[in-house]
Amino acid sequence: MHRMTRTSGSAVDVRGLRVVRGSTTALDGVDVRVAEGAITGLLGPSGSGKTTLIRSILGVQVTAAGSVTVLGHPAGSGALRREVGYVTQAPSVYPDLTVAENLRYFARVLGVPDVRADVERVLDVVDLHEQRRQLTATLSGGQASRVNLAAALLGTPHLVVLDEPTVGLDPVLRDSLWGTFSEIAATGTAVLVSSHVMDEAVRCDHLILLRAGRVLARGTPAELLIRTGTDSAEQAFLALVRQGHDTGGRDGPRPDRDGPAS
């Protein structure tokens, strides 16, 4: 598999990104990097712009200003279509197909060499072997979101972007999925996971805290705890919001009523 020339170590490079959706400025001057071979957590309350940023990285979002470079190419270029796996927030699989039929279709579209083997592999990863012949419409919410995840792992993506993949899953499954993300990152793949559950921050190598369309803070989980003198990601987030108000800094939030994690 060929690798493209790019700034060493970063799979995604977002600069000065501004996105307007309807009457809201969903992102305003956002700079973000996603490292290869690591899990980057994109955390922020609901409505903070996580999905908008992820859609921009996938190249399906109309942007107003700024640049988004993915694996050395402008976001959305044809060269990236085999390189980026995308787990949408709401499961985007066909309810009227079985689990295996869904995965086989996406594998064929990707042009995976051995469709059967690859489908088996991702079924293993998400532990859905028993449901393979079940209609996706009849799966539980958690099972459906795992099919959605499996579809994004087909082929050999160099970047996997997951939009709130653990929402609504039970703790055991959540834990096992975070284990899966670590395994994927360990192969050198860049993993970007969004979440509005601040507790999940500890599972990430890098964090980007988003609030009201701006980056509130970034760094490793440990750095953020030290900087804010707190002992949980949730408290760190609240502290950062307060600091933003105190200093009125450029990255500070706008005076609205967004709470932290719901």
Binding site: V62, R81, Y86, T88, S92, T98, V109, L110
Partner: protein, 237 residues
């Protein structure tokens, strides 16, 4: 294109009721009309036109709903991030529903020519060919208009808005040359008129000349598919 067509057919296979409706409903309606007119001369004169009508209407409805679902459920967004060209996506739908339409046209034509005793001067294979082209026209129109519908309710309304006027003006009620001049001109630019003309030609002539209607149908199908592709935006606001 082939994987997408296979996937669409697989979805249909999990929905046997829809398959049954696609195949059985036109036959039932044709039989009903035969019964209404007691198999008389009126049935003979409108029979060929009906054979052009049903496939188009049914395929139009099914396609516009199916693609609307695809747009709204997020699967289209996922597909557009994958190495799938817009043409393969639309072509896949056209191919899958075109296949269904072929089976439907074969059944309906067999019924018309056999039990219902429709007299045909031209070759029956041409009748089937036109019925298939016609249903692909329905597919192409359905793909295109689904871009302008945000809800299933709107998509269903396109049927009376886009298809019914064509039915009224295609020569089924009044021969096209007897329409008021303005309506005749309008009917000259509607694709269904040409499908019905072609059907009538095959029914009445031993050596039918279908050059014009086939070209018009082909141009409409390709044009609608191209317009449909233009409405599939990778980037959305």
């Amino acid at each position: 294109m082939i994987p997408t067509a296979a996937r669409v057919l697989r979805q249909l296979r999990h929905d046997p009721r829809t398959i049954a409706m696609i195949l059985v409903v036109p036959c039932v309606l044709l039989t009903l009309l035969w019964w209404i007119y007691d198999g008389g001369p009126i049935f003979t004169s409108i029979g060929p036109a009906l054979l052009a009508l049903f496939p188009m209407i049914i395929m139009f409805l099914i396609t516009s709903i199916a693609t609307l679902r695809e747009r709204r459920s997020g699967t289209l967004e996922r597909l557009l991030t994958l190495p799938l060209s817009k043409i393969s996506f639309l072509g896949g739908y056209a191919l899958a529903f075109g296949l269904m339409a072929t089976v439907q046209a074969l059944l309906a034509s067999a019924l018309m020519l056999g039990p219902l005793g429709l007299e045909l001067e031209g070759p029956w294979a041409l009748l089937v060919l036109i019925a298939v082209l016609d249903s692909i026209l329905g597919v192409a129109l359905g793909l295109f208009v689904s871009a302008f519908a945000n809800t299933e309710f709107q998509a269903v309304q396109f049927m009376p808005a886009i298809v019914l006027p064509q039915v009224l003006l295609c020569g089924l009620l009044v021969p096209r040359e007897d329409l008021p001049r303005f309506l005749e001109v309008v009917s000259n630019v509607l694709p269904l008129s040409y499908a019905v003309d072609a059907m009538n030609e095959v029914a009445r002539s031993t050596d039918p000349d279908l050059t014009l209607p086939l070209i018009v149908l082909g141009v409409f199908i390709v044009g609608m598919l191209a317009l449909g592709a233009a409405t599939l935006r990778r980037r959305t606001p």
